[in-house]
Amino acid sequence: MWDLLIVNPFTNVLLFIYELVGHNFGLAIIIFTVLIRLLIWPLTAQQLQSSKALQELQQSKEWKDMQKKYAKDREKLAQAQMELYQKYGINPLGSCLPTLIQFPLIIGLYQSIIYSLSATPYQLLELSSRVYPSLDVTRIFPLNSQFLWMDLGQPERLQILGFSIPVLAVLVALTTYLQSKLTMSSVGSGDNDQTAAMSQSMALTMPIFLGWLALSFASGLALYFLVSNIFTIVQYAALGRADFSKLFGGARKA
């Protein structure tokens, strides 16, 4: 079912774009990523709304009073928080949906890249059974896995003066950090110290985690992360939600 709904369509779309752009798999991944991001654009916009509403609620007197009142009773605090969410029509998970949706996309794309860049006859045989009849695998195969200095089926390293530098992994980590800093909720004092600490911690954890993925897995996946990060930064900037002042100082108070 997973293959039928995710991996096979992804593989075919990738191969279709690959043929369309003159047998350039890197370009195919970039276009595919942009398409995916455009598809989930409404969800990202909804995420922005949810996080904005959540942020406003967390800055309100009502929220702060509640925090004080139930400071020593976590159970009651959680219950009161839920009541407030209901009262203002906020879905606390709404801001997580676009992130959640990314997971199957990342896994599906990773598998599609590996299938497309078959490394053995058996994998090619598998690929040929996944390709829709409208695509002619005899014309497409073998795929050109080279893109710039990268082999998209292998973890990326750039040879500079005899050293192997994981340029893409560094770029992924850097753009993930930039994205986290630019889009982080503007909370961070008083009652929300714990949240702020966690946000700060995530702003460091995510770049390390995605950087590690980019370092360890096929560079086609790292390319997806990089393009996806750049797209998100541009999208937030276009929606007026990117706070560039956070890059050079502390979080701006809302």
């Binding site: 928080q81 997971f103 990342i106 990773y110 058996y122 994998q123 195969f141 073998p142 966690m198």
Partner: protein, 358 residues
């Protein structure tokens, strides 16, 4: 609940899922199978040497299974008693092993990708095609003599006649090289990528090759010119087997062919029992053995009568590896996703034995 509280478990989940997926992304291929008088060799990720009579394991290389060192190509024997095999995964060294003990003698480390095809050993020269698109030619001590660069991965074992080496590449080409110097004599454009070697016909000087298109081509071995072509019903994934002027092969649609090279007529009409044919058939004195991707093994008379059928046991067994004959005269197949790694049948098609490593 804050978004950040969800993120940590989510990234851990993603790490787990991707970790799980990486095994799906792991290099996988059908096993390599070879035999000499005393030993059966099975390359199913790990190279196993089994006593040909008792099937007792003699040694394994690497000694323990290693996801970074996966061997799928059948080993080739050298005149000095060594076996040449290469790793298809992260560890892509080409090894020379002591055939008696499985101990490493030397390793060639210059290739950048995996070794998918068996190497060809002719006298004291090793012709080793690699997925990085290079043919590496080595002496028996592992010293590089010369290389030839094709435009794409090399997945097929080279073949040779007296003076020329023939090499198919995934770049839709068949190359003819001088056997000693590596100088290119000609290259022929094929309609699609070919994953297997051509069959050499020394009698009339033709080469026969299939590929991811639905045809068999006959090319002039001296010039690479196409002499004739035969349209098949499906893709041809294997080297056709030539015997007495007849080419035996199967296609992915499941048809068995016996094609007379002289006039391209078929010895028998359509024979398509069940399952696609990826593996080259085994041609014996009085029958041709076809194995299919549905786990069936067929003994077919040279006139096209199905003599016997056997099914390999397993959940979704498939046979992609060409069957071989063991010392005892049994027909041995190496299925994938089956209960056993090896299954053997008598020439009359009766089950003889199976082997599964612990």
């Amino acid at each position: 609940m804050k978004k950040t509280q969800w993120l940590l478990p989510m990234i851990l989940l993603l790490a787990l899922l991707l970790g799980g997926c990486s095994s799906r992304g792991q290099v996988r291929n059908w096993p390599g199978l070879a035999a000499d008088e005393d030993v059966l060799y099975l390359a199913d990720g790990q190279l196993l040497a089994l006593d040909a009579v008792t099937r007792n394991p003699l040694w394994a290389f690497p000694e323990e299974k290693d996801p970074n060192l996966l061997i799928f190509a059948a080993p080739a024997q050298t005149p000095d008693g060594h076996l040449i095999v290469g790793g298809a995964a992260k560890d892509n060294r080409l090894f020379s092993l002591d055939a008696a003990t499985g101990q490493q003698v030397w390793a060639f480390e210059q290739a950048e990708r995996g070794w998918v095809a068996p190497v060809l050993v002719l006298d004291d020269v090793i012709y080793a095609p690699n997925s990085d698109g290079f043919l590496y030619v080595l002496d028996l001590d592992g010293n590089l003599l010369w290389t030839f660069e094709a435009g794409s991965p090399l997945w097929a074992q080279p073949v040779a006649d007296e003076n020329t080496l023939y090499l198919t590449s995934l770049d839709h080409r068949l190359y003819a090289l001088d056997l000693r110097s590596g100088e290119k004599r000609w290259e022929a454009e094929l309609p699609a990528a070919s994953t297997h070697a051509p069959a050499v016909d020394p009698e009339n000087g033709w080469l026969y090759v299939g590929g991811l298109t639905e045809q068999i081509l006959a090319l002039d071995a001296a010039s690479g010119e196409v002499a004739w072509q035969f349209d098949t019903n499906g893709r041809v994934w294997q080297t056709p087997v030539l015997r007495d002027g007849v080419l035996y092969f199967g296609d992915q649609s499941g048809r068995f062919y016996a094609l007379q090279t002289a006039d391209q007529s078929l010895v028998w009409p359509v024979l398509q029992p069940d399952g696609g044919v990826i593996a080259a058939p085994l041609v014996l004195a009085d029958q041709v053995v076809f194995a299919t991707d549905s786990g069936q093994v067929y003994g077919v008379s040279l006139q096209g009568e199905i003599l016997w059928t056997q099914t390999v046991e397993g959940k979704e067994p498939a046979i992609y590896t060409p069957p071989i004959v063991s010392t005892g005269g049994e027909i041995v197949v190496a299925p994938m996703d089956a209960d056993a790694q090896l299954a053997a049948f008598s020439p009359a098609g009766l089950p003889a034995w199976t082997f599964a490593s612990k």
